[in-house]
């Protein structure tokens, strides 16, 4: 078992999935299906009529003005928010109130938050091994070996015994990525993973995400790092006022936006 192989081994890609990933995007199956999804907070409609299909291994960058429902949308994909109308299917599992479906979906989907949300009372290693031990019932030694491989992958194996408060923001966010990967999810959600970071730390987190995308992970990233989007995204989704306004490859979004609102917003932030 070569050490260099540990990186790949950390996120198992079963043979059938590997075969799928070898195909071009258009020929892969849809791992995330959203049809006419709505979400209200009281009377306020935060997400309206969003339909989107994401292919296995695809990277979708979601962007748009503040309050446009980006976070609400991706939080519905692992049911941190409940959708109230429409249909969401994750890797063939229908999102319903059934607890078994919910457990299965949470196992498929990992999430990284803007504020890291590491558990401050346990060490970095404990943060990463907690869910594998408690949810996947891995033996402690296996969970720790997995955690160390993931920490190596995000470049901070030497921080394993520290507490989150002793790490820089960039390091904390990389731990959060490792923590989510330890559940070996099929899909990763990122909600503005670099917005709380100082500029010099943004790159280290984006590098970890780039590397993850290269392994064929399906990713939905809310981010305004347009350089990252241009380079890594397969498609980009522009949200405004709760609606999915435009969805297309970066080339189209940057060079030839089909909607005026997309163009207007990009002009403001670029």
């Amino acid at each position: 078992m070569a050490e260099s192989n540990g990186v790949q081994a950390a996120v198992d890609i079963p043979a059938d999935k590997a075969e799928i990933l070898a195909r071009p995007l258009e020929e892969r199956d849809d791992i995330v299906v959203c049809e006419n999804v709505h979400k209200w907070f009281g009377d306020f409609c935060a997400v309206r009529d969003v339909s989107m299909r994401v292919k296995r291994g695809e990277v979708v960058v979601i962007f748009g003005p503040s309050g446009s429902g980006k976070s609400t949308f991706i939080r519905m994909i692992n049911r941190l928010e409940e959708h109230q109308q429409g249909r969401i299917v994750i890797d063939g599992i229908e999102m319903t109130n059934d607890v078994r479906n919910l457990d299965a979906i949470r196992r498929e989907v990992g999430m990284v938050f803007q504020q890291f949300n590491l558990f401050p009372h346990i060490t970095v290693l404990g943060n990463i091994t907690l869910a594998p031990q408690r949810v996947r019932h891995l033996p402690r030694s296996d969970a720790e070996a997995l955690a160390m491989r993931l920490l190596e992958r995000v470049g901070i194996p030497e921080q394993a015994q520290k507490y989150p408060a002793e790490l820089s923001g960039g390091q904390q966010q990389r731990v959060a990525i490792a923590r989510a990967l330890a559940m070996q999810p099929q899909i990763m959600l990122f909600d503005e993973p670099t917005s709380a970071l100082d500029p010099e730390m943004i790159k280290e987190v984006l590098d970890a995400m780039r590397e993850l995308a290269a392994t064929g992970m399906t990713m939905l990233c809310v981010t305004h790092e347009m350089g990252f989007a241009r380079e890594v995204a397969d498609r980009m989704a522009f949200f405004d006022e709760g609606a999915l306004v435009e969805l297309g490859p970066p080339d189209q979004i940057f060079n030839n936006p089909q909607e005026d609102r997309t163009k207007l917003f990009l002009d403001q932030i670029l």
């Binding site: 989907v109 938050f113 949300n117």
Partner: protein, 425 residues
């Protein structure tokens, strides 16, 4: 030759030093100066009077001659050595905490050792074996220290030089309190031993049972407060979790319990426990009033503890539960592994505060006929022609004892707050 930077300008003399401080804080304006002078005069008058009474007029023989009453009540003299052994056990625990958690615990261990040293060498009537046992506390603190390895963090290779520093390898090997779990077990075993030593066991030579009603003095205040807090912690956690639960009946039951207990003064509860509860229990079930008081104080304290715990858990950021959910943890796992531990960490200072107020409240047990420190003070004055005029000395002494305990505990609590970085994420 490097060019020297021009020296930084000095601040104006009126803002620095003693003079500057006085000027800024006490004599900043006319009004301020007047207040300063008036307060200073009143304070000086008070202190001079009190000081001359304390040093000249007061007769402190009552304190010295009745010291055992104040400290242990009517506890039988033959059993004093058992109490001394309890102190030794406490010393070991203190040494252990000092090593494991140097910031907050070191001063406490120092203070405890200093008190033991003082009492051990103070020239008054005391059996030499008791003196010896008291002085043994100093080496026992060292023993607890040695039996504990370097702070847990040091094992990870960082902060190697921190705090206690390294011990010689031979000593590291005897370090038996090597994990938090072992420390908790050690503390638990020590507490059980302390209870056995204090109360005795029938049939074991040397450990003759002591009538619980003979427990008294400062000891009973401390015991009631300590066991009240320790036992109310799990009950309070249970109540707090019940109050947060989504089962309506459980929730309502917990809310009613908490609010009823919090709405009734402790003294009423004590009175009810002594005079009303026995009416509803079968005759044979004759619980000693000491235990009744202990149970009542625990119940009283657990209602407040529940509210503390609830507050501590509510202060945990929602991001924490979201992250746990996103990882697939179940609701109860999230509560037990994430919210509760962080919530408890948040309220450690509040628990110390509650201990302080409970400690003061235990003086109410004289209402149900127990011989706590305050009651022993009253008895020693009123029950004795010789000391009938010494009430002032006695109550001043008692006030001082309570104050020293409460002040040192709140001092430690602040240290703990600092060490925990409360408010830090």
């Amino acid at each position: 030759m490097t060019a020297r930077a021009a020296p930084a300008p000095l601040p104006p003399a009126t803002t620095v030093g003693l003079q500057g401080w006085l000027r800024q804080n006490l004599f900043g304006s006319w009004g301020n100066s007047v207040v300063t002078v008036v307060v200073a005069v009143v304070l000086a008058w008070f202190l001079v009077n009190l000081g001359s009474w304390v040093l000249v007029e007061a007769d402190w023989t009552v304190i010295i001659s009745r010291a055992p009453l104040y400290i242990v009540g009517l506890y039988p003299y033959e059993g004093y050595w058992r109490l001394c052994v309890c102190l030794l056990l406490i010393s070991v625990l203190l040494g252990m905490s000092w090593r494991a958690w140097p910031g907050p615990a070191r001063r406490f261990a120092f203070a405890f050792g200093a008190v033991m040293l003082f009492v051990g060498v103070f020239p008054h009537e005391m059996a030499p074996e008791h003196r010896a046992l008291l002085l043994l506390n100093l080496p026992f603190i060292g023993l607890g220290y040695v039996l504990t390895p370097r702070p847990a963090e040091a094992h990870s290779g960082r902060l190697e030089a921190m705090a206690g520093g390294a011990l010689p390898p031979a000593l590291e090997r005897v370090a038996i309190f090597s994990t938090p779990r072992r420390m908790v077990i050690a503390a638990f075993v020590a507490l059980v031993l302390i209870m056995i030593l204090i109360l005795g066991i029938a049939g074991v030579p040397g450990l003759d049972p002591v009538n619980p009603q003979d427990l008294g003095g400062l000891m009973i205040n401390l015991l009631l407060a300590f066991f009240g807090i320790v036992c109310s912690l799990p009950i309070g956690i249970g109540l707090a979790l019940g109050r947060r639960s989504s089962l309506p009946i459980l929730k309502v039951a917990c809310v009613i319990f908490i609010e009823v207990i919090r709405g009734v003064p402790l003294i009423t509860l004590l009175f009810m426990s002594r005079h009303i509860l026995p009416l509803t229990f079968p005759e044979e079930l004759n619980i000693d009033r000491v235990y009744l008081a202990g149970i009542t104080i625990t119940i009283f304290s657990s209602a407040y503890m529940a509210e503390n715990v609830r507050g501590g858990m509510a202060a945990v950021q929602t991001g924490q539960t979201e992250a746990a959910q996103a990882l697939g943890l179940r609701g109860w796992q999230t509560t037990l592994l994430i919210t509760l531990p962080q919530g408890l960490r948040n309220i450690i200072p509040a628990i110390v505060g509650q201990f302080i107020s409970l400690f003061k409240d235990t003086s109410l047990v004289y209402f149900i006929g127990m011989l706590d420190l305050v009651e022993m003070g009253r008895v020693s004055v009123q029950g004795n022609q010789e000391f009938i005029d010494n009430g002032r000395e006695v109550y001043l002494f008692i006030a001082l004892v309570f104050w020293v305990f409460c002040f040192s505990m709140s001092f430690i609590s602040r240290r703990i707050e600092g060490a925990l970085g409360v408010g830090r994420r």
